[in-house]
Symmetry: C2
Subunit: 212 residues, 2 copies
């Protein structure tokens, strides 16, 4: 299998952490797509993923699977023991809900802020920006951090009291926030403590070493 | 189980179609949340779903599951036969990819157009609008329709050559486009033919009767 990604990208980080959690890293070849040169917008890449986002997984028969959640579903179910996406109907429901909520309220919001209200990937790549929208999404992300802080005051993990892809998504959000210098509010003590615990996981520690 | 929704909402339609496909309709009570009065923005509802979106599923023990994909995962896995979300790793990966792509490229884009570049739910509910962003999302949705037309020229269904939650999501997109008078381009003949076939499914026909 092959993954097209950019090693320090916050979305690629989600799949790299999932690969490490599933001990699948040696099964994968990586090929860089240079975000800063806009290679993800080139027609050759759009044939792999219409949406032009990273990462993309290519199976050995040439099938492409894009979108972090979809790639994680695939990888997590290969061994019949889906520890990241949920084993029961209830776990699947709760994990998918929180995974999507992390995207909506933090990760995707930080991404829109980056691409629309900061220089983003630079003028040659960011051909359209809507600064007002970007700034609103920054404020949404900060509110989202307070929401997840309230969740983590009551629970050790983002979904269902076990580590899951929802935690991985929020780690992606923390990575992206750090890249754009959006500080987690100091009052979010439970969120900050959760992130320190996440950094102790080998899968997360390895990715943060790549980011550094 | 109880579902909080608005019967003609395009996102609620996705879960209602999934319920019909799984023969689970009689297991559910429905409670209306009036979008046009902004009841989904009230603090009592936000305690059920922080993101303030419909529908939300409440389990008998009081657990809330929000987000269409998460609710569909839950309902589809209750009987151990996940026909809508995928039985194998590969099916799960392909279905989740296309389900998310429908959201990104059509359904959510039409939703942003509605809420930002039309009167939406009215001035008492739409407290902030970004018209330029809304119009860009309308254009994205039209491009997305051409993309799914190209997929459906080659395949009978949106993902993996079988009916799945990705088809249901695109039906949601078609319903929303119709509500906002965004016509599917006539040249999208495969998309239009697919939608006619979808209307023959009892689950979809029943929902379209509610919409009418």
């Amino acid at each position: 299998m092959k993954i097209y990604d950019w090693p320090t990208g916050p979305y690629p980080a989600r799949v790299r952490i999932a690969l490490a959690e599933k001990n699948l890293e040696t099964a994968i070849q990586f090929e860089k797509v240079d975000l800063w040169k806009g290679e993800h917008r080139a027609s050759s890449f759009l044939r792999k993923n219409y949406s032009g986002t990273l990462p993309v997984l290519e199976l050995d028969d040439g099938t492409f699977i894009a979108e972090c959640t979809a790639i994680t579903e695939y990888l997590d179910n290969l061994d019949g023991n889906p520890i990241l996406t949920g084993r029961t109907a209830r776990e699947k429901g709760e994990i998918h809900m929180m995974n999507k909520r992390v995207e909506l309220e933090v990760l995707d919001a930080v991404s829109v802020y980056f691409h629309h209200a900061t220089p983003g990937l630079g003028p040659d790549v960011e051909l359209y920006q809507n600064r007002e929208w970007g700034l609103r999404q920054r404020d949404k992300a900060l509110r989202g951090m307070h929401y997840f802080d309230s969740v983590l005051k009551e629970h050790a993990f983002v979904a269902d009291d076990e580590f899951s892809m929802a935690d991985i998504a929020l780690v992606g959000g923390m990575i992206f926030a750090s890249l754009v210098d959006l500080a987690v509010p100091e009052t979010c003590t439970a969120l900050l403590a959760w992130y320190e615990r996440m950094k102790d996981r080998p899968s997360v520690a390895k990715q943060l070493a790549i980011q550094a």
